[in-house]
C-alpha cells in the first residue's frame, strides 16, 4: 500500500531498512542496551510504579484544567518579565520566531533540541527567509550536517555509525579522513559550536516543563548546549507545546525523577535549568504552540497522548522501531508515541503508522506517564478505516473473511481442513506471492480439523 504524500509507507521503508541485516542487528542492540539501562534505573526505585501513576494523574489533572493553567502561566511569566506569544499552528509559530529575529536584525541563530521546531519545520522556514540556524545538540548537529531529520527524539543520530559520522565531520568540519573516534569527533564539534555560541545574538531552546504557578520553564540537557546558547545570546526564544505545562514547581520532583531514568537510564540529566526571569536588559520569549493539540485534547480516546514528556522510552523498547529505524515513520516524532500523535496532525499522510505495531504493549509499560499507547494504536486503526484511509483491497478481504467467519455453515462446509484457510486468511493465502511464504514455511494442514476429530471422538452437543 502506498500512502499519498509519501512515495513509500512504513512497511516499504522498513523493508528497505531490513536489506542490511547486520545493520538492523546493530540498531536493535544499541537501542536494547538503552532499554536495559532504563530497566536498571527503574528497578533501583522500589516506588517506581507509584511514581508513574502519580505523574500520570498530575498530567491528567493538568489536561483537565489546561485553559486555566495556560492563563496562569502566561500571567506569571509576564510578571517575571517574559514575553509570551501564542501560535495556533506551525506556520504561526515560525512567523513569530521570524518576526522576533527580524525585529532585532538577527540573521543567525543557535538552537538547542526542540522536537516542536522539527514538527513545525522551523529550520526550513527560516532558511527560506535567509536566516541561518545551527543546531547545537551534537546529535542534531550531525543530522543537520547530513541533511537528514533526527531519527529519534532523544538520540537524533542513533541510526548512524561512527564511521559515517566521521565522514560527515571530515566533509564539513575538516577532521582527518577515516577518523571515527567518538572522543575526537565530540571535541571537534565542541570547538566548532563554541565559536557558534560565542557569536550568536539569538538562541532558541525547547521546553521540557513549564510551571503555571511560577511562570518559569525548565530545559533539560546533558551537553549544556541550551544554557550555552541562552546565556550567551541577547535573545532567548523558548518554543513549547501547550501540553508541556505542569501546575506546580514541586511537581518537578515527580517528573525529573522519571524523565531521564526512562530516557537513558541516568538518574537525572546533567543540567535541569529553570528559567524564571530574563537577565536584565535581555529578552526571553516563550511561544505557546497549539498545532493540533487542542483537537487531540477533544479526542477522548487519544487525549492521554498529550501526557507525553518526550523521554523516548517507547521507541527504545519497541521491537518494531528497533528493526525499522526512526526514518521509516516519516514523522518528527517516530516510534509508538509518534504513531498515536501523527494521525492527529494529518490522518491521511500518517495512516500507515498505527499499523506499524504488533500491539505487544511494551511501550505502555515503559511509559513514565502511563499512556496506554498500544490501546490507542488499536483505536487509531478503527478511526483510520472508518474515515476511509484503508487500502480498498484490504477492505474487500476483510469483508470476505467476515462472511465466512460469521457463518458456521460456510466455515464448516468450505472444504477439508486447511482448504478454507488457505483461500481466505490473508496471511496464509497459498501462493508464492504471499508475503508469509517469502521467508517462512506455511503451516502443514493436518488430516482432520479439531472439529472433525471432536465429532468422531466426543458426543456432539449439536
Amino acid at each position: 500500500m502506498s500512502v499519498e504524500g509519501h512515495t513509500k509507507d512504513h512497511a516499504a521503508l522498513a523493508d528497505d531498512f531490513n536489506q542490511d541485516e547486520p545493520r538492523v542487528n546493530w540498531h536493535d542492540e544499541t537501542l536494547w542496551f538503552i532499554r536495559e539501562k532504563r530497566d536498571r534505573a527503574a528497578f533501583a526505585i522500589p516506588d517506581w510504579e507509584m511514581l508513574r501513576e502519580t505523574a500520570s494523574q498530575i498530567k491528567f489533572h493538568t489536561l483537565s484544567n489546561l485553559s486555566q493553567y495556560l492563563e496562569q502561566f502566561e500571567a506569571n511569566a509576564q510578571a517575571n518579565g517574559i514575553i509570551v506569544h501564542w501560535a495556533a499552528d506551525a506556520e504561526e509559530h515560525n512567523q513569530i520566531v521570524h518576526s522576533i529575529l527580524q525585529k532585532h536584525g538577527v540573521t543567525q541563530m543557535v538552537k538547542s533540541k526542540s522536537m516542536l521546531t522539527e514538527e513545525c519545520h522551523l529550520n526550513d522556514y527560516l532558511e527560506q527567509q535567509g536566516i541561518e540556524v545551527i543546531d547545537s545538540d551534537l546529535g542534531e548537529r550531525i543530522v543537520q550536517l547530513a541533511k537528514e531529520p533526527p531519527s529519534h527524539i532523544v538520540l537524533p543520530c542513533i541510526h548512524l555509525k561512527k564511521e559515517e559520522i566521521g565522514d560527515i565531520f571530515h566533509q564539513h568540519l575538516g577532521t582527518e579522513a577515516g577518523m571515527s573516534d567518538p572522543q575526537i569527533l565530540t571535541e571537534t564539534a565542541r570547538q566548532h559550536l563554541r565559536e557558534t555560541f560565542l557569536t550568536r545574538k539569538a538562541a532558541l531552546t525547547g521546553v521540557n516543563f513549564a510551571i503555571a504557578e511560577t511562570g518559569e520553564f525548565v530545559v533539560c540537557t546533558n551537553e549544556g548546549n541550551a544554557d550555552m546558547g541562552a546565556h550567551l545570546a541577547d535573545i532567548h526564544i523558548a518554543s513549547m507545546g501547550i501540553e508541556k505545562l505542569i501546575p506546580r514547581r514541586s511537581d518537578l520532583g515527580v517528573f525529573l525523577r522519571l524523565l531521564t531514568r526512562s530516557a537513558t537510564g541516568q538518574p537525572i540529566t546533567t543540567y535541569s535549568s529553570h528559567f524564571k526571569k530574563p537577565r536584565p536588559g535581555h529578552d526571553v520569549h516563550v511561544v505557546l504552540v497549539d498545532n493540533g493539540r487542542s483537537v487531540q485534547l477533544g479526542r477522548e480516546d487519544f487525549r492521554n497522548s498529550l501526557k507525553c514528556i518526550r523521554c523516548g522510552a517507547c521507541m527504545n523498547t519497541c521491537p518494531v522501531y528497533r528493526r525499522s529505524g526512526g526514518h521509516s515513520y516519516q514523522s518528527a516524532v517516530a516510534g509508538p508515541i509518534g504513531s498515536i500523535l501523527a494521525p492527529n496532525l494529518d490522518m491521511k499522510k500518517h495512516a500507515d503508522l498505527p499499523f506499524a505495531s504488533t500491539l505487544c504493549g511494551s511501550c505502555s509499560n515503559v511509559c513514565p506517564v502511563k499512556i496506554d499507547i498500544h490501546n490507542q494504536l488499536y483505536k487509531w486503526r478503527q478511526v483510520i478505516v472508518k474515515e476511509g484511509y484503508a487500502d480498498p483491497k484490504k477492505t474487500l478481504g476483510m469483508k470476505a473473511m467476515n462472511m465466512v467467519l460469521s457463518s458456521p455453515q460456510t466455515f464448516k462446509l468450505s472444504g477439508k481442513a486447511g482448504r478454507w484457510f488457505m483461500k481466505t486468511v490473508p496471511f496464509l493465502v497459498s501462493n508464492k506471492m504471499n508475503p508469509w511464504y517469502k521467508q517462512r514455511e506455511m503451516p502443514q494442514p493436518p488430516k482432520e480439523s479439531f472439529g472433525e476429530w471432536y465429532r468422531r471422538n466426543r458426543k456432539s452437543n449439536e
Binding site: S64, E223, M228, L232, G253, L256, P267, I268, R279
Partner: protein, 195 residues
Amino acid sequence: MNSREQILAAVSKNQPALTPMPEVPFFQLEATDLVEKFTQVAVSIGSGVFQVESYEEIQEILSNDFKIHHRIISHVPELAPFADTTPLEDRHRHQLENVDLAIVKGHFGVAENGASWVTEEVMGLRVVPFICQHLAIILPKDSIVPLMHDAYARIGSAEYGYGVFIAGPSKTADIEQSLVLGAHGPRTLTVFLMG
C-alpha cells in the same frame, strides 16, 4: 479572535471534566547515609567528590591540577587570591570563554542523583558554570537531601531569576552511545562537601 483567544477557547471546549490534583505520596530513599549515597551516585555519573573542612583544603586539592597560569574565577570571597573574585559584568560574559576553572557555591545536593542546586546569585553570571573548562561546586556537607521531592520542598517558593540542578560534567553519548565527557560545558565537575 486572535490566536490566544482561539487556543484558549478550543482548549476549554475540549478539555475533559476537571479531575482533582492527586495527592503526591510520601516517597522515601532507602539509603540512610545521605553523604555516602550522594557520593556514590555523583561518582557514577562522572563527578569527583571530596569531603573537606575548609576553603584552604579546597584550594590545596584544586592546586594539584590548576596552576598560576590557569584562569580561575569564583564568586566565593574566601577563595581569593587563589581565584579571581572580581565581580563579573553581563556585557563581558563572552570573555569568560578562556576560564579554566570556575568555583561556585551550591545551595544543597540531592542524594538520589548526585545533583547540586545552584542559582544565579551564587554563580556571578548564568553562563559561568557552563562556559568554564572545569567546574567545582562547594556544598555544605549537611545540606544533602534524599530525593527530588525533598529538593523542591527545600526550594519552596524561593525567588530566583535562574536556577539549575547540575549533575556531573557536561556529556554526550550521541555517537553510537559512547559516553564522552565535556560536550559543550565543563569537562570535569568536582564537588566539595564542606563541614
